[in-house]
């Protein structure tokens, strides 16, 4: 069994094929992509792009129609040796506003159950963080919970282990890593709420840990070829600088994230994918309660294939209709002053009509309706998002 599903080939400029006997999990997404290999080179390359239009209306106010180059991602992999592989993913977001190395890691396979990985790693929390490529999804927007509670794409430098075991139609896998982690901006940011993605703004996080305390991420998942996959994951870290020059200046304050993810396919026509996340943060009692100590959120996508046939000259083209339900609660605490619930929530329903000329390309039109409340639970603002876009591997 190959480590990654990439089959070395000697063919000229040939698309790398996947091992059809293998059962892929979300954790395999990083290698489970279309790559092109050139001649006898051990290097394969690929990538994807996402571009879309946005038309948003909030409580009757719109900024009008605009166009958004969401991302251009390039990945390269190399099978250095049958059991030593390298892959990197470099992403240009919003044009060149953000340029990130999202993944750059070496895998050494000692045994299928014991693969050592080191480099910039996508922490295996939930499923979306590792399986986020735009062409795989029917929606222009990434799920709220997967981007604002789990800060996808959430990558850090570190080392760890992963492995898999196959038993008939079942596969079980695990991942465990020590990496750099969060910093104190998660409770000290201009959004005024606990916001794990704030750490991504730090230019130093690939260079050193904020507080010299590694973050631990552990995931286990199990999949049946016909039933589906379920995963459970946790990452935990001390996020504050509790020590300066060797002198203790604060308590160690932790952030812990737990996630459950799932996906299944029913009758080859219905595809259900989702995840739910819970976050626990030790916020100082004397700080502002607007920074929540508990958060939760999740989403479920239901995709239905309306047509799968030759359309517009494309064989096996698909027309899909999809719906996404999502919810995030950025602050599950109660007010000290009144005992009442702190709100700061978003509910959303997003619908999609998408056309896939091939599995690697999607043309999608989305209509989403979102309700957002402030901390106090005042009448929610209502936002409609109308988006149209392309996303394709290349």
């Amino acid at each position: 069994m190959l480590l990654t599903g990439l089959t070395p080939t000697l063919a000229q400029d040939k698309q790398v094929s996947k091992d059809s006997l293998k059962i892929n999990l979300n954790m395999d997404a990083v290698y489970s992509r279309p790559f092109l290999q050139f001649g006898k080179s051990t290097v394969a390359i690929g990538g994807y792009m996402e571009v879309n239009s946005n038309y948003f209306v909030t409580d009757g106010i719109t900024e009008g129609l605009s166009f958004h180059m969401q991302r251009l991602t390039i990945f390269m992999s190399s099978t250095i040796n049958q059991r030593i592989k390298f892959l990197t993913e470099i992403e240009f977001e919003d044009g060149t506003k953000e340029i990130n190395i999202e993944f750059a890691a070496l895998d050494f396979e000692l045994h299928p159950l014991l693969v050592v990985r080191g480099g910039i790693i996508m922490n295996p929390i939930g499923a979306f963080n590792q399986n986020h490529d735009g062409p795989k999804w029917e929606f222009v927007e990434r799920p709220l919970s997967a981007t604002t509670i789990v800060p996808s794409t959430w990558s850090n430098v570190g080392f760890g282990l992963h492995g898999k075991s196959y038993q008939g139609s079942w596969v079980w896998a695990y991942e465990a890593y020590l990496t750099n982690g969060f910093d104190d901006t998660i409770i000290d940011n201009e959004l005024g709420k606990t916001w794990l993605p704030s750490t991504k703004e730090s230019p130093d996080r690939f260079e050193e840990s904020f507080n010299s305390t590694p973050m631990t991420t552990v995931k286990t998942a199990i999949r049946h070829r016909k039933i589906g996959e379920i995963g459970i994951s946790w990452m935990g870290d001390v996020y504050n600088k509790f020590k300066e020059d060797g002198i203790i200046v604060d308590n160690k304050r932790r952030v812990d994230v737990v996630a459950v993810d799932y996906n299944t396919t029913i009758m080859q026509k219905w595809y259900i994918t989702g995840e739910w996340t819970w976050t626990f943060i030790d916020v100082p009692e004397t700080y502002s309660q607007q920074y929540g100590s508990r958060q939760t959120g999740g989403f479920t996508d239901v995709v239905y294939t309306i047509l799968k046939k030759r359309m517009l000259g494309w064989d096996k083209a698909r027309l899909n209709a999809s719906i996404r339900g999502e919810y995030v609660d950025y602050n599950r605490d109660t007010f000290n002053e009144t005992g009442g619930k702190i709100h700061d929530e978003v509910w959303g329903i997003n619908t999609s009509l998408s056309f896939r000329p091939s599995l690697q390309t999607v043309i999608r039109a989305n209509y989403g309706y979102y309700w957002e409340t402030d901390l106090l639970g005042n009448p929610p603002s209502k936002t409609v998002r109308v988006q149209f876009g392309f996303s394709s591997y290349f």
């Binding site: 009757g60 604060d250 004397t286 056309f355 039109a365 106090l376 005042n378 409609v384 149209f388």
Partner: protein, 408 residues
């Protein structure tokens, strides 16, 4: 036939896509202007609109430890105290302490007059020093303030009756405040023994919106500006150093933009004012002599913002201090006000308060009243006569009075 169906599919797809993208179908409409407090006065110029937007952004900006928050503070932004420009919530209700009579605040060197009950990580929040009297202040709505700011001292004094010369039991008087050193008097102001009439704040301790805004930046958020260059500090902690952010943390221009924003926020727009029950309630409001303090109508004179000039508006306040009796006496005061004296709060926007307070009323100076009726029943002192008349109303009449107040 197959080709026809295929083309039909394509047609349906394209029609649906273009339909979704080409029209405003199923989009949330605007909230009615009279259902929200925020938004500019009509008739501002493009340049004034741009200033309004800049002020609005500054009003909503959240401060962090890296942009100067604290180190001790009450709130992290203007908007967090005045959600939707409305009244505040107990979460951001602040505490003032240290002044028990008109001789001044004797706790200024121990952190007075305002308690900063929160702190950025690594710092200790303040506590009320032993022996200091205190009162809680719920943040007020900020809409329509430009109209009140445009009134002249002479207009305010015209309604004062400090000795109750007319014998009606109501004796409003202005609070006189020593203005801050950056105060620049305008034609509307009259000095009296080096003091100026205060017109903003629960005790009318702020002489103008700049004074109010500078104090809010500093005492509510721990933000220094060109007008106040020192952070609040916790005097109870031996090391009195503040944060390490260079001062000023906001420049004068930002403060002035916020002041412009406050001056040009529209006045609350009434709802259901033609309903018979509301009209009946309005008459009862007058019959109970509530209008003696909650003065319904004012007219501005000339203003440097032309849309504020010569405008009739209905704030339901006289901007004067009134003795509200023992039940509202918190043993704390500011300026020359007695501890039982409070500035008449404007009642406009009252009906929209719940939409800014999380669906619950938190009324009176400290949010102690959770209904309009409860707030009325807390009235005493000069308002005791009106309260007694209110108690004699039938349930229907009380309901009509409430409906009227909710229409403001």
């Amino acid at each position: 036939m197959g080709g026809l169906i295929q083309n039909l599919n394509v047609f349906i797809i394209l029609t649906m896509l273009s339909g979704m993208l080409s029209c405003d179908f199923i989009t949330p409409g605007p909230v009615a202007e009279n259902e929200i407090l925020d938004g500019p006065i009509e008739g501002l110029t493009f340049e004034q609109n741009a200033l309004f937007v800049a002020g609005d952004e500054a009003f909503g900006a959240t401060f962090t430890s890296k942009t100067g928050l604290g180190p001790i503070f009450v709130a992290t932004s203007c908007g967090s105290c005045h959600a939707g420009d409305g009244k505040g919530h107990p979460f951001t209700t602040l505490v003032r302490f240290g002044q028990a009579d008109t001789t001044g605040n004797i706790f200024l060197t121990r952190g007075g007059p305002q308690l900063q009950n929160r702190a950025i990580p690594g710092h200790m929040p303040e506590q009320i020093p032993e022996g200091a009297t205190s009162a809680k202040f719920t943040p007020p709505a900020v809409t329509g303030l430009g109209f009140l700011a445009a009134l002249t001292d002479e207009q305010i004094l015209a309604n004062a009756d400090p000795g109750d010369a007319d014998g009606d039991g109501i004796s409003g008087r202005p609070n006189y405040i020593i203005p801050p050193d950056y105060f620049q008097p305008q034609g509307i102001h009259q000095f009296r023994e080096g003091k100026i009439i205060g017109r903003f704040g629960k005790k009318a301790a702020a002489v103008n919106l700049l004074h109010q805004t500078v104090n809010a930046y500093n005492e509510d958020m721990g933000i220094t500006s060109d007008f106040r260059m020192e952070d609040p500090i916790n005097y109870a902690v031996a090391n009195q150093s503040a944060d390490m952010i260079a001062d000023p943390e906001v420049p004068a221009a930002v403060v002035r933009n916020v002041v412009f924003y406050l001056r040009t926020l529209k006045a609350p727009i009434r709802r259901n004012e033609m309903e018979p029950e509301v009209i009946r309630g309005q008459q009862l409001f007058s019959d109970l002599n509530c209008v003696a303090c909650h003065l319904p109508e004012w007219k501005t004179l000339e203003s440097d913002i032309s849309v504020l000039s010569n405008q009739i508006f209905h704030p339901y306040t006289d901007l004067l201090l009134h003795d509200m009796g023992a039940s509202l006496d918190d043993s704390y005061t500011e300026g020359i006000a007695m501890t039982s004296e409070w500035r008449t709060p404007p009642l406009w926007g009252l009906g929209l308060s719940k939409d800014a307070q999380g669906g619950v009323y938190y009324l009176l100076h400290d949010g102690r009243a959770n209904s309009i009726e409860e707030a009325i029943l807390f009235h005493g002192g000069e308002a005791d006569g009106s309260r007694q008349l209110f108690l004699q109303l039938t349930d229907d009449e009380k309901e009509a009075l409430t409906r009227f107040l909710e229409s403001l």
